[in-house]
Symmetry: C2
Subunit: 610 residues, 2 copies
């Protein structure tokens, strides 16, 4: 279990809100064979509405359970208390939340410690090897049981994130949205190696008895505790361990344990390890961790792409910067495989020191919690709009108030000009999309295939709040996640001058877009020329009403309209249309534009010139 809260406050009456349902049909398993019957333990929060279209399925992590949050003030707190409840991002006043214990688990759902209905004995070593697919199939039985056709969302982190991905493949038409946190298409070999050593520790424990320890009245406590210690290290980050343990490094706590307590971190691990033994079953640990370890959504970009092709839902993929169990690049691989197929995906790598556990902690919750909340509300609004026949609108709940960002953008003459250059019904990739101002106007106007790339996570959140699909990316790294001519338009609005490797980024733009729109401030503008030639000062390039100094501007490239034209000629970039502007007077410039325009908009492409 990747969290402390439920470790320290175990449910005093864990069965109070736990419900179970037993499916007496045999459950066929992915690796062959079947389970004669399966019981699913779960808890629910909120109320299923009449149309049964407000249900959210929560998937827990390796050693989690169904108790995701307190059911009322007297109930014990759950493992995602910050996320789930009335008015919280997963709002139980709006949504009907279902959280089942996973197949193979030991918290009520059928697992190795369950009684085999035919033999009357515990499965033990006889429990078949299960997969993430088997877990998800079992969960779908529960959804059937509720009579829910389509889930509003499936949400989970770590193992739960993997289950969410599998849901999107296996039941593409049964979920509207998928929120996948701190997960990936597979484990890295490094993370896999830790699981293997953990299982070796359990299985080497003389009390393991080849998995039949139940019959011997013992448990492989040492092995399971060591496995848990190891797991705990991988859930934290180097930084969070420094914060927790460096100050009193050599002051081990006096706790009653057989394990080493010389150092503070050792005492902590010993405590966590031994406590875990009281509440978890070693065979469950082996069964579930093996299911994670064998999961493979795609070992190559091609395979990943192919597998994700059939998905139909919207995605929100979140990674955490210091997570080394599921490092961010894994989430990025999924995002790229979705992006290249024009699937609606949002991605952000949340900056965090908290390691893999970050998705359970209040740190950075203003980012990831609010992103999840906004993403769900937009999904909910889409369901409502679809029901009422409205499409391609900013979701009603998120409609911007008058005089907000859209009016603010109106002040930017160059942005309105760019919008005018983009026809209806074209697809647009906006590089450096900011808070989604340009894209939300295009969306309001009716364009549907819109993607924004943005490096700043707060701006990503703002895009999500507007219902704009945004992916966190550094455009300096190129656009490798996109195919040639994937978009009708690629827009680089007043961003060119902040990019170091202009040549690379422009070559990527014209590869990915049939037409590219580039706007930039024109260093050749008469005022700038005069500043240098007459005053002997570096030109102070204006951005709207402000102009930074030479030493603190975000701009690192300075070019004139003529420079850009020479550049395009040299690099084989075709200029289709040039729109020189005087943005202060809000007019187009035709007379000596390199001298009279403060800003230039260029429509270019990689088409070979005649």
């Amino acid at each position: 279990m990747e969290f402390d809260s439920t470790d320290s406050v175990r449910n005093s009456n864990p069965l109070k809100y736990l419900q179970t349902v037993t499916f007496h049909e045999p459950l066929p398993l992915e690796h062959g064979g079947f389970l004669p019957e399966v019981t699913v333990a779960y808890e629910t929060y909120g109320t299923l509405n009449e149309r049964k279209d407000n249900a959210v399925l929560l998937c827990h992590a390796l050693s989690g359970d169904s108790h995701v949050a307190a059911h009322n003030e007297t109930d014990d707190s759950g493992w995602w208390e910050i996320m789930v409840g009335p008015g919280k991002p997963i709002d139980t006043d709006r949504y009907f939340v279902i959280c089942p214990n996973v197949l193979g688990g030991c918290r009520g759902t059928t697992g190795p410690d369950a009684i085999h209905p035919q033999t009357g004995k515990r499965y033990g070593v006889g429990f078949p090897e299960i997969t993430i697919g088997d877990i998800v199939e079992t969960e779908s039985l529960l959804i059937d049981y509720f009579g829910i056709n389509r889930l509003l969302a499936v949400i989970g982190g770590s193992l739960g994130g993997i289950c969410t991905l599998e849901w999107s493949l296996r039941f593409p038409d049964r979920l509207m949205s998928a929120v996948c946190l701190a997960a990936g298409p597979h484990l890295t070999s490094q993370s896999l190696a830790f699981d293997i050593v953990a299982r070796n520790a359990i299985q080497s424990d003389p009390n393991f008895h080849n998995g039949n320890y139940y019959e011997h009245g013992v448990v492989p406590a040492d092995g399971l505790a060591i496995a848990r210690m190891l797991g705990h290290i991988t859930y934290l980050s180097r930084e969070s361990m420094m914060q927790k343990f460096d100050a009193d490094r050599n002051q081990g706590r006096k706790i009653d344990t057989k394990f080493e307590t010389k150092f503070s971190v050792g005492s902590y691990l010993a405590y966590q390890g031994e406590k875990f033994v009281d509440r978890f079953d070693a065979n469950s640990y082996i069964a579930i961790s093996t299911a994670i370890d064998t999961y493979e959504l795609g070992s190559s970009p091609d395979e990943l792409r192919r597998k994700l092709r059939k998905t139909m839902c919207r995605f929100l993929i979140l990674s955490f910067s210091s997570d080394w169990l599921f490092p961010p690049f894994l989430s990025q691989e999924i995002t790229q495989a979705l992006l290249v197929q024009n699937k609606p995906v949002n991605y952000c790598n949340i900056p965090s020191d908290c390691g893999h556990d970050a998705f359970l902690l209040p740190n950075n919750f203003d980012l990831y919690g609010n992103m999840i909340g906004a993403f769900l509300r937009c999904g909910e609004a889409e369901v409502r709009n679809q029901a009422s026949g409205v499409r391609n609108r900013i979701p009603e709940t998120e409609a911007p108030p008058p005089d907000s960002h859209i009016l603010a953008d109106d002040a930017r003459f160059d942005v309105t000009q760019i919008i005018d250059l983009i026809p209806d019904n074209t697809s647009v990739l906006d590089l450096g999309c900011g808070s989604g101002g340009l894209l939300s106007r295009l969306k309001q106007r009716g364009n549907t295939q819109l993607v924004g790339l943005e490096i700043n996570e707060v701006k990503i959140r703002k895009c999500l709040e507007k219902g704009i699909n945004a992916v966190q990316a550094d455009i300096n790294a190129g656009l490798k996640e996109f195919e040639d001519d994937q978009f009708d338009f690629v827009v680089l609005s007043k961003t060119l001058q902040t990019i170091r490797d202009v040549e690379f980024v422009l070559s990527e733009m014209v590869r990915v877009g049939t037409r590219c729109i580039v706007s930039f401030p024109n260093l050749g503008y008469n005022k700038y020329r005069q500043q240098l030639s007459e005053q002997g000062r570096a030109p102070r390039i204006e951005h709207g009403k402000t102009a930074a100094e030479w030493y603190n501007t975000d701009d690192v490239r300075f070019l004139t309209l003529a420079d850009f034209e020479y550049f395009c000629a040299e690099k084989g970039i075709r200029i289709h249309y040039a729109l020189p502007l005087d943005t202060k007077q809000r007019k187009h410039i035709s007379d000596n534009p390199n001298y009279n325009a403060d800003t230039v908009i260029m429509v270019v492409s990689g088409e070979v010139m005649d």
Copy 2:
């Protein structure tokens, strides 16, 4: 042992070149108590010269031993074959190399499996807790035994790197040079945690018998193998594990083992773990890993600084970018503590995918191997020069050939002007020192307190080859490793225009230097003005004979002489002297410098103006 080579090719006749010496005096131990006698096993390479000033002590890693390299063509290869031998960086044609097995080890030097001279039984659990200090004291006995007053160098990686650091503190006048690879002032809590889990695995093994397994005729094989598996993961990096295991991830090899072999990485770990049991003693593993874990050179910058104050040797500190057992920031902490005290230190973070093991592998050997070689040769030359009374010279072996870099710099008028501005006997910090051109001229002229900061590792190596102390650093991060007014001069030669956060870097410069010399190209130069005002093109700033384009220049800041003056006035930076230059005509400019100078040199400081 952090290497595979000696794992796979064990010495068929390990005692052939192994020598031992037993010191029959009791050895007092840091934590109290003593060992009644101590035997040290070691191997030597090369010949000790008459003056006994060519000896190099090599310190091995946790599970290493004295067999560092083959002694001849028929001998088995050793663990640092690439580094040690005739003509190699640690050149056995020049140096007398001594490599002892550590105290507490199980490869010939006294450790838990040794026979206690009084009881006639193995020490076992009775072996006292030893420290890195005890290991180093034991090594000093061996150096005494050879009659060596002063070692040319002590060199080691990982545990060996820690021992090297301890040598520099404990015997400051007995080593000329210290080469510390992949180490740190202490373990991180994360790395410490892995060691603890490893020891818990050993001690939980029922065959451990509280450390007295020798008497039971068994070994805690499972526990030791699991400890080794865990260690192996920490010696590799995520990237190197992907390279090794991702391709055949699910193809476990069929090997005879009780451990899990379902995955390729698991088979590998099982093989490594079981093999290790054959050649290593569990109590030794516990004793040495505990010595590493309790080592603390300084838990705060202040403590680190205080401890390192007494060191007298030159340092070469190397970290490896993907090393997460001893992450680079630990090496940087040591470097900073030395730099702030004006200790001669060189540092580089070698870019590597190979993790902690990188210091044993041929990848990037052109960098780190050659750095070590150059560093040792300069030390050797200093010894020779000192013997002959010559000081402060480029070491003879490294004297630059005529017409090399120094003449190349002569071509840069601005550089010769900067040198003229720096008086003899002043200390100089050169920011962005490149290959050490400016500093080596100052060194030749007689300046002794010279430090270069440089981001590029190849240039760092070139500095080392010139005998210039160079530290890899990104000056954009500031100069926090230096104290206020630590240097007479801080130089930023034609680098200002490449720095984004000019304000921060200049504030750091004037904090650290009593005087600062800043040179930069002048955007106000008439030619540049004309390019913009008359041709309508962005000025193409010239650097020597070349001028990059607006889209591919390294420059990101563009300023005129006047801009710099206004900046200084606004930020409270005092300009003592301005030296405007026409570098093409190699002359000073006094007439309208903001118009006529292509380059400007400014001498500034943070002194409050009257």
